[in-house]
Amino acid sequence: MSWRDLTITPVVECCVFASAFAIAWSLRGLYDLSFFAACLVFYAAVVVLTLITLKVIRSLFPIRPGIYTFRRHPWPCYVWNLHEFLCGTNLNRYYFHGLVPFALKKFFYRLLGAKMGKGVVAIGGLLLDPSLIAIEENVIVGAGSTLSAHLVTVVASEDTLILGRILIREGALIGGNVQIMPGVTVGEHAMINNMAFVPLNTMIPPYEVWGGNPAKKLLEIPRKAEP
């Protein structure tokens, strides 16, 4: 915890809540809303304002992949921390618990800055730090899987934050309860078995089946003959 965590974060959080309260209060006065309706407005305003704040944070101080130690790079670590704090506090149920209906998940992660391909992207799992994650078309991510673009570890006896882009190429298939770490690239039409653990910076080539903990190559998928 640095001084920033104890000053800037609470101020931002209070601003979000205060403005949401102001919106709900003024709308209640304008349209003569009932108490319950005003509560709903307040809740919706908190969600929307949090999304806007996150967008502002991301455009002012974009989160870039890299290896940061908390002692020597306090600012990038703090920005990540603030971003995560807002996601995990105000959007907790959507961000950490995935309580977004299936059909809206792609939209939700897009709002948080993930790059999504056209068409159907079926996400049954969680994306942590969506702004560092890119998913192309026709990808399926199984239920209970976690794609985490951050990792907090100890490197050379120092607390370190590792941020890395995750790229899931077109047509890849990720099973259920899979954990994918930062910097992983999953090639086109590759498949990851259920309950696999894909370690840091793994490059999974196209048309291969990987599985296990840590994930290893199991099979090769024969490519379809080009028409």
Partner: protein
């Protein structure tokens, strides 16, 4: 290099549009019910949520009666009727009952009832279900079964077989007195015999048959130990 313009779609148009039509009908019907009640805002909001849940359960029951899910391997890229049915079924279930189905937000005592409403065959008496059951109509649990926290029973699996994406459906049967540890994943076609146990954090691969009175665990699950059955314990050992 120019990419081919006729790109193969992951879902056919029918599979994309039909779930949304059903979804809009359900939402509109429950909105009508809420509006017709003529109560205050809070009460009609509750009526909207309740009727959406009930109507979804009814719609799912109708889908199950018209086109029940059956075990088998179905191609996704080539048109397969069973995939369309499964897609529609899971979309409606995962969207309208997302909180209860995907995220398991039901109190323990109501879970048995919920899964029974979704077509699971459950034994009499108390069933401890702390995990998630996907596609409950393909799951059979007998009496005295315990399912640990966050364990997933998944009778569906999307995989690549012979370079094609396929949907695999297989009935999961769990016999009397089985215990399944936390965060275990059970894949389609698995049968677990009476009084067996599966350790926590294990992966039971497809079509595994676990005999009665054994302990299995690991990723992939393997036999770890045998349990002595109660009958043999009762007999005095010579």
């Amino acid at each position: 290099m120019e990419k081919s313009k006729t790109r193969k779609r992951f879902l056919e148009w029918g599979d994309l549009v039909l779930p949304w039509i059903v979804e809009i009908i359900l939402l509109a019907a429950s909105f009508q019910l809420a509006a017709a009640s003529g109560l205050g805002f809070f009460a009609s909001f509750l009526i909207f949520c309740t009727s959406l849940g009930v109507l979804t359960l009814v719609a799912l029951k109708i889908i199950r009666m018209v086109a029940p899910l059956k075990s088998g391997v179905f191609s996704i890229s080539e048109k397969s009727r069973m995939f369309s049915v499964w897609n529609l079924y899971s979309f409606v279930l995962g969207t309208n009952l997302s909180l209860f189905y995907m995220n398991n937000l039901l109190p323990m005592i109501l879970r048995k009832l919920f899964y029974q409403l979704l077509g699971a065959r459950l034994g009499k008496g108390v069933l401890g279900i702390a995990g998630t059951i996907f596609d409950p109509s393909l799951v059979t649990l007998e009496e005295d079964v315990f399912i640990g926290y966050e364990a997933n029973l998944s009778p569906h699996l999307i995989a690549v077989v012979a370079s094609k994406k396929v949907l695999i459906l297989g009935r999961i049967e769990i016999k009397k007195g089985v215990m399944i540890g936390g965060r275990t994943l059970i894949l389609p076609g698995v049968t677990i015999g009476e009084n067996s146990m599966v350790n926590a954090l294990s992966l039971v691969p497809m079509n595994t048959h676990i005999p009665a009175n054994e302990i299995w665990g690991g990723n992939p699950a393997k036999k770890i130990a045998s349990l002595t059955s109660k009958e043999s314990q009762d007999q005095p050992s010579a």
